[in-house]
């Protein structure tokens, strides 16, 4: 360690003397090794009154990044020096002759850092909120900025993400089978994982010094060929001309500007150690999460026209709008998605502007739930109607607290715990209120109430336990060594992970031998029947309604209690919940055993 620290103090000539972050603050490492035209670093391209890298540095400074290092080729440092001097945080320029040195510099920085390490392309153009989602969200430890969309086609490196974890990543030299996402060039390594980053960076540096295995070099040439082909196809599409046969594409020459773009991307790909580091971390088995781009803007322009294009488009992305839309939980049920979230997000924004905290909203929701239960406990019709209305208000606030937390990024352990416990508590308090009211009205339903409660607990126990086995399966998935270009298709994938239909012309394909169709057992055929229709969104919504999630339950309670009686409420809860339990149990048993 001592040697490293001294190496750090000797190397570089940062304009502000050094780049030591305040203890615990994140350290950024910006890779300015991709060139624009003429050998100047793309990071130094002009953006408004500054440069791409200057803009990024200012964004990072606003997100509590304490210091930054900029890695660039020695020839390019002159162009970057004035830029980094004007940045809003201490920056050190780290001249580096090549990729092994890049990686060793990263390792040194990670060793000396005290907080998280953020590695990014210095020429990234994105919005503050996109970076904040990765850097300022305490729920993402080590993670990447990623998207499920088709960003950065065709050059972006694809990823395969399962249950919020990156299971496969690609680089210039690596490919991913069945990709379902794209890496957007920003990687955060949590303080606790820094040692792993050091190991991986050293390992990659040694690999590059030895010379890459031929299989990896072949992968890059295959990528170059694929990129070329997709640029040819794009040119035909833009010209509105039917493209020729695939075999003939090889002979079509690219337009000069496309050719230059391809050459730039290929050169950049060779120099790109950020993607290599991601592959290394994933292959080393590190838990790498994902923060989604949502509807925000991202681009990696490597030329002046590309910067111009990005500037035109970034204005179309309203950051507040995107943040508000993405505050809605992705996996909500039908009732919540269509009858609550559309307006509850505006309540969340209003609450944010009034300075209300998620915990306050949680407590207000719990109080409303308690009053609703008390109203149900009166046992007479007006009480039941008032209770039904109050319960719906309580449920709305239930959605608001989470949306407010995501919108304002105020997450706390206690808040998350309170939210979860009070959600459940409200429901069972309402059960008790209804049962007390029923007794007062001369129709005791305690056995039904107890059964409904037991059934719901059992259903939740399934929802808690089943993902545990899925996570065990994911954690046990072996990762191929870094020397292998492809991650294998032949691995046990947990369910919900059927390969998605590849939307991309640049799909990474694994050559498949024409084997006879495998014999399918009864179980796998049952499983196929179970999943038939999952591609249709209508079927998915029907399945969600069948599963009787919380929005549907609260709606059923309110309606049946207000219109009929607590007895009817509990019978509906037991019938619908029982059907849902049977449906989910059979489905998951089939998936487990198939």
């Amino acid at each position: 360690l001592r040697a490293v620290t001294s190496a750090l103090t000797q190397s570089g000539s940062g304009p502000r003397g050094g780049a030591v972050a305040p203890a615990g603050a994140a350290t950024a490492v910006l890779m300015a090794t991709a060139d624009a035209e003429g050998g100047a670093p793309a990071a130094a391209l002009a953006w408004e009154d500054g440069t791409l890298i200057g803009r990024l540095l200012d964004q990072l400074a606003g997100l509590d990044v304490g210091s930054a290092h900029v890695i660039a080729r020695p020839a390019a440092t002159a162009a970057l020096e004035p830029v980094v001097g004007a940045a809003g945080l201490p920056v050190r320029l780290q001249p580096s002759p090549g990729r092994p040195a890049d990686l060793r510099t990263v390792a040194d920085i990670a060793r000396a850092a005290t907080g998280a390490v953020v590695i990014a392309y210095a020429d990234t153009v994105t919005q503050r909120e996109a970076l904040a989602g990765l850097l300022a969200d305490p729920r993402v430890a080590t993670g990447i900025l990623g998207t499920a969309g088709h960003m950065a086609r065709p050059f972006g490196y694809r990823t395969r993400v399962r249950r919020g974890r990156v299971m496969g990543a690609s680089s210039a030299y690596h490919r991913v089978v069945s990709p379902n996402g794209t890496f957007l060039g920003v990687l955060k390594v949590a303080a606790a994982d820094r040692e792993r980053l050091v190991e991986v960076a050293e390992q990659l540096a040694a690999l590059l010094e030895r010379g890459l295995p031929p299989a990896l070099e072949e992968e890059l040439s295959a990528k170059g060929e694929r990129w070329r082909r997709s640029l040819v196809l794009r040119a035909f599409r833009r010209a509105g001309v039917e493209p020729p046969e695939p075999e003939a594409l090889e002979t079509v020459a690219l337009a000069p500007e496309d050719d230059a773009e391809l050459a730039r991307r290929l050169a950049g790909a060779r120099e790109d150690v950020t993607a290599l580091l991601l592959v290394g971390l994933v292959r080393a088995g590190l838990h790498v999460g994902v923060s989604g781009l949502r509807r925000l803007f991202w681009a990696r322009p490597l030329s002046e026209p590309a910067v111009e294009h990005a500037r035109e488009r970034i204005a179309d992305h309203d950051e507040d709008r995107a943040l508000l839309d993405s505050s809605v939980k992705r996996s909500d049920g039908f009732f919540t998605t269509f009858f609550v979230s559309p307006y509850s997000k505006y309540i969340a924004r209003w609450a944010a502007r009034r300075g209300l905290t998620p915990n306050q909203v949680t407590l207000a929701s719990a109080a409303l739930g308690a009053i609703a239960a008390a109203a149900f406990a009166t046992g007479h019709r007006p009480g039941l109607v008032v209770g039904a209305v109050l319960l719906q208000l309580a449920f709305t606030l239930d959605c608001v607290d989470g949306q407010l937390a995501r919108y304002t990024r105020t997450f706390s352990k206690l808040g998350a715990w309170l939210d979860s416990i009070f959600d459940r508590g409200k429901e069972y308090l309402v059960f008790a209120g209804l049962a007390i009211g029923a007794s007062r009205a001369g129709d005791p339903v305690w056995l039904l109430a107890g059964s409904a409660l037991g059934l719901q607990i059992m259903r939740h126990a399934v929802d808690f336990s089943y993902p545990v086995t899925q996570h065990q399966l994911i954690a046990a998935t072996p990762q191929p060594p870094i020397e292998a270009p492809s991650d294998s298709r032949r691995q046990t994938l947990p369910d919900d992970d059927r390969p998605e239909p590849e939307p991309d012309a640049e799909a990474e394909r694994e050559p498949r031998p024409a084997a006879p169709p495998p014999r399918r057992g009864l179980r796998s055929r049952l499983r196929a029947v179970w999943r038939a229709g999952d591609r249709s969104s209508k079927v998915v919504w029907v399945k969600k309604v069948i599963a009787f999630p919380i929005g549907e339950r609260f709606a059923a309670i309110s309606l049946t209690a207000a219109l009929f009686s607590p007895r009817v409420t509990f019978i509906v809860l037991l019938a619908w919940g029982g059907f849902a339990a049977a449906y989910v149990l059979v489905g998951r048993a089939l998936r487990s055993l198939a």
Partner: protein, 219 residues
């Protein structure tokens, strides 16, 4: 998921795995499992289905009119077989069904005991279920958001599913229902809520959650 504190899979002798914590075994079940669980060539879920079956048949046949001897036999049978299942490794493909089966066993058994004791015991039984419910959610959410399992003595003092079933059975046989259920509900609530409050004071409030996965959120 809180890998630092809770291993994903474990041998029973070391720290328990997540699913083992979700089981919520008490001292009785753990002792039975440790003594004889290894020698039973059945997966845990198979043992649990066998544990539930006689009681289920008795409920369907006799309902709340079942003789107390039958209730006692069915509960003891369920505790013995469920206890044996605690000694089985949770490595089979259906291991996720074990905690829900234990919940069904416990909540169903307690409701049956309350019903057999008479209609006036049912509200008391509901109170007991509510207190246990709090505990069962806190086992999950506490692990997620505080990153720690319950201290062993609290877990043991709560009786586990087995201890609570046997306790309820004794209350039924000595004729202490419904009052006994109210006392039981209060004791369980005080124990587990008190433990939660103490635990939150220890953990502090500001750190990030150790576990957050929206997709795993029950709703």
């Amino acid at each position: 998921m809180s890998a630092a504190t809770v291993p994903m899979a474990s041998a029973r002798s070391e720290r328990p795995s997540v699913l083992e914590l979700y089981r919520d075994d008490g001292p009785v079940a753990a002792a039975i499992g440790a003594a004889a669980g290894r020698s039973v060539p059945l997966p845990a879920i198979g043992l649990l289905l066998l544990a539930i079956l006689p009681g289920l048949v008795a409920i369907l046949v006799a309902g709340d009119g079942a003789p107390r001897g039958i209730v006692a036999a069915a509960v003891v049978w369920a505790v013995v077989l469920g206890g044996l299942s605690s000694g089985r490794p949770l490595t089979d493909r259906m291991r996720w069904a074990v905690p829900p089966a234990l919940r069904a066993l416990e909540y169903g058994g307690l409701l049956w005991i309350a019903a057999v004791a008479g209609a006036s015991s049912l509200p008391a039984g509901f109170a007991v279920l509510c207190a246990i419910t709090y505990h069962h959610y806190d086992v999950v959410y506490g692990l997620r958001h505080r990153g720690v399992a319950l201290p062993r003595w609290v877990q043991a003092a709560g009786g586990g599913w087995d201890g609570r079933l046997l306790g309820a059975l004794v209350l039924l046989l000595v004729g202490a229902l419904p009052a006994g259920f109210y006392v039981m509900a209060a004791l369980i609530a005080v124990l587990f809520v008190g433990e939660t409050v103490a635990e939150w004071r220890r953990v502090g409030r500001t750190q990030r959650p150790v576990y957050d996965d929206e997709e795993d959120e029950a709703d």
